[in-house]
């Protein structure tokens, strides 16, 4: 069999980064719209609009411009806000889209940032509940098609 994709882990992404910055500074960089606009998307991306209501249920409204000049409207809802350690959000309109979770942990040399994106499902009850997304378990995957394959059109 040839597969570069573990079926079990195919629906989640986990990344870790260590920063010298304090958790408080990282939290500010992740939740202050003026600062988020400076880094979101990476090199070559611009963020002409970023508005964040950083509280559970609050909306993150964002316009991102890709290097080719295309603008994309993004609208997320915060689902966990525990400064300066836990921030989680999901597409505001599509509750079957990925759950994004950032955890910040103080380490001796700085701060460990752990990022996780997980596609929810009925088989992930514990994980979803940990994310604070119990309600999405009622939702099917019907609307996932709107996200998959066309991440640039997420609204």
């Amino acid at each position: 069999m040839t597969s570069d994709c573990d079926p079990v882990d195919a629906r989640s992404i986990r990344m870790e980064r260590v920063f010298a910055a304090s958790a408080q500074d990282l939290w500010s960089a992740l939740t202050d719209p003026a600062r988020v606009a400076l880094w979101y998307g990476g090199d070559g991306f611009a963020n002409p609009h970023c508005e964040m209501d950083v509280r559970v249920g609050g909306i993150w409204s964002h316009v991102m411009r890709t290097p080719d000049g295309t603008e994309h409207s993004l609208r997320f809802r915060f689902t966990r806000v525990e400064p300066p350690h836990i921030l989680a959000w999901q597409d505001a309109a599509d509750s079957s889209g990925p759950l994004n979770l950032v955890r910040l942990e103080e380490t001796p040399g700085g701060t460990l940032l752990r990022f996780e994106a997980l596609f929810p499902s009925s088989g992930d009850r514990e994980a979803a509940e940990e994310f604070g997304f119990a309600f999405i378990l009622e939702q099917g995957f019907a609307r996932m098609a709107g996200v998959l394959g066309e991440p640039e059109n997420v609204r």
Binding site: R17, F19, S122, G123
Partner: protein, 132 residues
């Protein structure tokens, strides 16, 4: 469109632990349905339903000519799903690079670079912030 639908179907197929377990077992080689079903505390009909979902997603196929008609894993449909994840991962990888730069850190998560002893004179390099 078709590709997007298939990615959606693949994620749906992968959303169930029993179905993921079936795929894991088939990754070791083809098995007939009866043998697959014996591992689960559910009716053969329930297992059949799971197999149908996996078949619809194109993740398993059935050998029609062999007498024991084994199911085997076809990993090809996982590729568009993996590609989507790869794009998402790269998006955040780039974003975290920029976040580090924004914080005044250059590649803090990477092991220290090996000093360049060939002596390239890159005068465009910005000053390090080495104020006392």
């Amino acid at each position: 469109m078709a590709a997007r639908d298939q990615v959606s179907q693949v994620f749906h197929a992968l959303s169930d632990p029993t179905r993921r377990h079936i795929l894991e077992r088939l990754a070791d080689g083809p098995l007939p349905a009866g043998q697959l079903a014996r591992a689960y505390r559910m009716s053969p009909a329930a297992v059949s339903k799971h197999l149908k979902v996996l078949e619809d997603a194109g993740l398993i196929r059935q050998e029609r000519h062999s007498q024991w008609r084994p199911r085997w894993l076809d990993a090809a449909p996982l590729e568009p799903a993996a590609a989507w994840f790869d794009a998402y991962r790269r998006f955040w990888d780039r974003s975290f690079d920029s976040l580090a730069a924004h914080l005044g850190e250059t590649a803090a998560w990477q092991p220290p670079a090996v000093p360049d002893t060939t002596g390239s004179d890159d005068s465009e390099m910005p000053e390090e912030g080495d104020r006392q």
